[in-house]
């Protein structure tokens, strides 16, 4: 996986030189590639301390293995040895062979990182690369070598020299607390002696001695910009934490000294480098911290590492953290930011991961979060959460944003009976999915597929339950919906409104043709339809038999013939046109709003039937209504004030739009018209706001709004789609 780091390195530099103090993982980096026959030679060379023998070793192992030998013996390398040019890195193919010939794998990855290991880079090379010059410190450094990308924030840390004695005592208490291995006390004392001698050297007093600590992450070169940015952020954060700890307790001085000592000690015993790093990991808390950071990044992407038992560094790699509830998805922080920036007070929060919820905050910051989580339910909007928890809405936003970023929560529209859900387009629903078992473990005896098949058509909880078997089943259903939302299997649909009056020419032209078409249609619809469809069936049958593989898909081939489209509908929504008015179920527009006890109740059953634009009926009725308008106008002309008020209201529209609105009978009702104008002026009819949002911000009751939309349906087009704020977190391909 390109998200995982290949390695983490710790490079140190001070006035005396640079050194790679620690790298992780270090297992197999050295041993695997050295052939057995050259091992004893290389190992024996330093033992004998005989430079000519090293030369023999170097020249005997000729090709690509040289670098390994040289890495083992790098510290004792004979300065006169001939450097071989055939080293490991150079044998690697260039990272980007352009896709000149086409049908192969496109972006073939070359391997300096086989098995995800950082190979071919000796400690010496790495340390010279990352012990950077002063000008490059305290800013981003990115280096790409073939297909490995190194990213870091080299941090200059002023050495804390005033704490010699104090540092000693605190260190002693530390060692007693953590029960370091036996070697530790001796080395730490020598370390402090080291600092003592260093500080006793004649130095310009005004300038405290500085050291450079560079925590470098080696990544795959294909890792995206945002991944690289996250790792840079982490390196920077760790650098700052180390600087703080150095100021507080001379932590860096001690740890780096300890590491350096261990290096010297073990290499003087001719121990292999792995052993050295083993010892460092045992002795140094900083090395342990880096090791745990590496492992956390590879597993969860969530870090909570305490440095020196004092300072907690928490960090989240969203690209990794958001894979837990849905494998294979990659959520960039930019996407999360986009989602969070469009957060509204009517949105709700859905916690994904109760158990490990408080991982994401340092313990001291947990109180506020607990306060929020205690009162939380997925039924509440953020606004309600804020007032219940007695916090400001901005504060709630911040906490919710934090939870979402850390993959602990997702944004939803607060759960309610009337919310309409469908299966998310990218829902990983297949027989091998791990979610199938997870679901049946959570809901005993239930099948995920059976449960979710209900949402193949847009459906609400209210719709799936009947008043008779209410409470138990509804509770169960709600639980399932919550589970599916947590796993991003469901997506909520919202209704959007677009103001769009048809222009006059189109209107009259449409009506005239429409009438013809309508009669034409009604003539053929009932009887002929049947007949034709059976004919088509026959045709399909013949194609199936005659053609091979391709044509056999029958319906898949659209011949101009079938454009007469009278083939009977074989889907669930058979004959949807004819039945859509009388039978509300299969057409979602009508289905979810005509639920008896929902919020939309009252007057909406009439609304719902006609809310889908049905030109055949609506245009006709329009036509007849234009005739009736004049009479109505005559009636209402009594109140001239009203008429003027209407004119005034209509003045916000341009001429064509005004004419179109005039044709609607409801435009003579001042209340209706003023509400329409108000919403229009507020920009709610531009496909930007769903009905829930309009209701929330305009404090409208559902019935009011739906009635209005129905009355003005000739100039408004209504459609359903997902809330972009929430949908951005789904992986829409």
């Amino acid at each position: 996986m390109e998200v995982n780091p290949i390695a983490v390195l710790l490079v140190y530099m001070d006035s005396k030189g640079d050194r790679l103090l620690f790298r992780y993982p270090y297992e197999n980096v050295y041993k695997d590639k050295t052939p057995l026959h050259s091992m004893p030679l290389a190992a024996s060379a330093p033992v004998l301390n005989n430079p000519p023998l090293v030369d023999v070793a170097m020249s005997s192992s000729t090709t690509s293995l040289v670098s390994q030998v040289s890495s083992d013996t790098s510290r004792k390398r004979n300065p006169y040895a001939i450097s071989s040019s055939d080293e490991l890195l150079q044998t690697a193919p260039p990272p980007n062979t352009a896709p000149a010939n086409v049908f192969g794998v496109y972006n073939s990855c070359c391997n300096t990182v086989p098995k995800g290991q950082l190979e071919g880079f000796t400690d010496e090379v790495l340390s010279t690369l990352f012990a950077v010059k002063q000008q490059l410190c305290n800013q981003k450094l990115e280096l790409k070598v073939n297909d490995v990308r190194f990213v870091s924030h080299p941090t200059l840390i002023p050495r804390n020299e005033h704490r010699n004695s104090a540092g000693n005592t605190s260190n002693a208490s530390n060692t007693s607390n953590t029960s370091l291995p036996l070697a530790a006390p001796t080395t730490t004392t020598s370390a402090t002696i080291g600092t003592a001698t260093a500080s006793s050297l004649p130095q310009p007093k005004s300038q405290p001695q500085q050291m450079l600590i560079n925590i470098v992450f080696a990544l795959h070169a294909q890792a995206s910009y945002s991944i690289v940015k996250c790792y840079y952020e982490l390196s920077k954060r760790l650098g700052l934490a180390l600087r703080f700890e150095e100021q507080r307790a001379s932590y860096c001085t001690e740890e780096t000294m300890l590491m350096a000592r261990t290096h010297d000690e073990l290499s003087s015993q001719q121990q292999p480098l792995e052993r050295t790093f083993d010892a460092i990991t045992e002795r140094c808390t900083l090395a342990q911290a880096l090791k745990s950071i590496y492992h956390d990044l590879c597993t969860t992407g969530l870090l909570n590492t305490t440095l020196n038992q004092y300072l907690t560094v928490s960090f989240c790699l969203p690209q990794k953290a958001h894979q837990l509830h849905k494998k294979g998805s990659m959520v960039d922080p930019e996407v999360i930011d986009r989602c969070l920036s469009s957060l509204k007070p009517y949105h709700g929060m859905l916690l994904v991961d109760y158990a490990e919820l408080l991982d994401c905050v340092p313990p001291r910051a947990a109180r506020m979060l607990l306060q929020l989580v205690e009162i939380y339910t997925p039924l509440m909007s953020l606004q309600m959460l804020a007032s219940e928890a007695d916090m400001s809405i901005e504060h709630v936003y911040k906490m919710v944003s934090h939870l979402v970023y850390w993959g602990k929560a997702t944004i939803i529209y607060p759960l309610c009976e009337t919310n309409v859900y469908v299966i998310a387009p990218d829902a990983p629903l297949h027989t091998k999915s791990h979610l199938v078992e997870k679901f049946s473990a959570r809901f005993a005896g239930m099948s995920l597929f059976d449960a979710i098949a209900h949402f193949s058509l847009p459906t609400s909880i209210g719709h799936l339950t009947t008043p008779l078997q209410q409470s138990a089943r509804q509770g169960m259903l709600a639980q399932m919906v919550v589970w599916m939302l947590q796993h991003h299997l469901l997506m909520q649909l919202h209704t959007y409104v677009q103001f769009m009056p048809s222009d006059l020419d189109d209107f009259y032209g449409g009506v005239s043709t429409m009438n013809v078409a309508g009669s034409d249609y009604s003539a053929c619809s009932d009887g002929v339809n049947e007949h034709k469809s059976s004919l088509m069936d026959l045709q399909e049958g013949t194609t199936t038999h005659s053609s091979i593989g391709v044509g056999a898909t029958g319906e898949l081939l659209i011949s101009p013939l079938s454009r007469s489209m009278n083939v009977s509908d074989d889907e669930l929504n058979a004959g949807s046109l004819l039945s859509c008015a009388s039978q509300p179920l299969p057409v979602p527009h009508t289905s979810h709003r005509s639920i008896t006890e929902d919020r939309y109740s009252g007057g909406c059953s009439t609304a719902s039937d006609n809310i889908v634009a049905q030109p055949s009926s609506s245009h006709k009725s329009n036509y007849s209504m234009t005739a009736s308008i004049s009479t109505e106008n005559c009636d209402s002309i009594a109140s001239i004030e009203d008429e003027e008020r209407i004119k005034e209201l209509l003045s916000v529209f341009n001429d064509a739009d005004r004419a179109a609105i005039r044709r609607i009978p409801a435009s003579t009702n001042i209340d209706d018209l003023s509400l329409l104008v108000k919403l229009y002026q507020a920009g709610y009819f531009k496909s930007e706001h769903h009905l829930e949002e309009i209701m929330y911000f305009q404090s409208l009751r559902p019935a009011e709004l739906l009635q209005l939309l129905d009355k003005f349906r000739d100039v408004l087009i209504i459609y359903e789609t997902e809330d972009p704020a929430i949908a951005s977190m789904y992986n829409n391909k």
């Binding site: 950077v132 027989t431 189109d506 319906e555």
Partner: protein, 392 residues
């Protein structure tokens, strides 16, 4: 899932121009220095000194493509060392030809170019000491760099003749992997390529080209063009990689579509709505269909409503709308999304065709694989109580 690996490259993926080209060498007495730079002083001495360890690195990193991004510049280099005890004062000549870009810019596409140009320079150096000799060579080199930077930024390709050597360079843009092409997908040729003469394409493309019409699916194209299916798939994949075709789901009147949040851009962008009205017109001589009708058509697409039902309700022909083109345009611009049907086998041991009902292959795919009509599959599934159908 397979898309993710190469979708992303460094720095937000934006491409930037080459700002500067320089040649750096390790001088026998002066150490690391820039010996030739175009434009002059783009990389200042201070900046160069800070990063020279990455420009002239240890021998271990020679002949690696090395990119360093620091101090607001991004330097792509290919450090080289030529050993020759007779010729050179220090027994070796170390140099590095570097391209400099903005620190935000993507630079992978320059890597092969840097390497190739370096190889030319190595050759010229080995033959005539072009780089190491003092004299007017530096001027020639400067000329070369000037041409390279100008041509590559403008035309992405350049040819330079210098003495006996002819240098050919071309920037190949690195694109994300193309999608996997399956039997049931429909390639749609993008407008820009409609008028490309047939003989400009490769042989396979020439053969299948007449059948790419936005209606035919891969298996049908293969059958009609009499080309092996896998060959067609590879060819279409290639075309998709270069952005010549767009892959769409097959168009059926029993298909269900839903509109997406992008539908609003049809209203917001007048150019798009003009293009749409022109494209979806049934008869281009008549007045183009009104945007209201087009929008209404899209808006009525939702779960559970087939294309056929919408056509019956709205009668698109009466408004000079070709519903097939309307669907194609919508899919292409992501106004609408096809909602596919996935049969899932929920029993214990699948047998026969049930093995295909994994939830991974859609109805269309199964139809293409089995050669059965959707109706047959439909009946098959209706009978089987162990199969659930999911729409998504």
């Amino acid at each position: 899932m397979q898309v993710s690996t190469n979708d992303y490259y460094e720095d937000s993926g934006r491409e930037g121009q080459i700002r500067c080209i320089f040649l750096s060498e390790f001088h026998a007495t002066a150490g690391c220095k820039i010996s030739c730079q175009v434009p002059a002083d783009y990389v200042s001495k201070e900046v160069f000194d800070a990063i020279n360890v990455y420009i002239i690195p240890k021998p271990h990193l020679q002949r690696c493509i090395l990119t360093v991004n620091a101090l607001d510049i991004k330097v792509v280099g290919y450090p080289v060392g030529i050993e020759n005890q007779q010729k050179y004062a220090r027994n070796a000549f170390l140099f590095n030809l570097c391209f400099v870009c903005d620190s935000w810019a993507r630079s992978v596409q320059y890597e092969p170019v840097v390497k190739k140009l370096s190889e030319y320079l190595i050759m010229m150096e080995e033959e005539s000491c072009f780089l190491s000799k003092e004299g007017d060579h530096k001027l020639k080199l400067q000329k070369i760099f000037e041409t390279v930077i100008k041509d590559l930024n403008e035309k992405k390709v350049t040819t330079i003749v210098e003495g006996d050597t002819t240098i050919y360079l071309k920037i190949v843009i690195h694109k994300p992997d193309p999608p996997v092409v399956k039997d049931h997908m429909v390639p749609l040729l993008l407008v820009d390529f409609k008028n490309t003469p047939l003989d400009k394409w490769d042989l396979t493309t020439q053969q299948i080209f007449p059948y790419i019409n936005g209606i035919n699916h891969i298996a049908r194209i293969a059958a009609e063009a009499d080309v092996e299916t896998n060959l067609v798939k590879s060819c279409i994949q290639n075309l998709a990689y270069y952005g010549v075709v767009h892959l769409l789901p097959i168009l059926k009147y029993s298909n269900v579509y839903m509109c997406t949040q992008h539908l609003k851009s049809l209203i917001k962008m007048p150019s798009l709505s003009q293009a749409c009205r022109k494209y979806v017109a049934l008869n281009s001589d008549k007045t183009h269909p009104s945007i209201q009708k087009v929008f209404q058509f899209y808006a009525s697409m939702t779960h559970g409503v087939t294309l056929r039902a919408i056509c019956q309700r709205l009668c698109p022909q009466n408004y000079n709308i070709d519903e097939r083109k309307l669907v194609i345009f919508g899919l292409q611009h992501k106004f609408i999304r096809c909602i596919h049907k996935y049969p899932v086998f929920t029993g214990s041991v699948p047998s026969g065709r049930q093995k295909m009902y994994t939830g991974l292959s859609s109805f269309d795919e199964i139809c293409c694989k089995t050669g059965l009509s959707p109706l047959d599959i439909e009946r098959d599934i209706d009978k089987d109580t162990n199969v659930t159908v999911i729409w998504k």
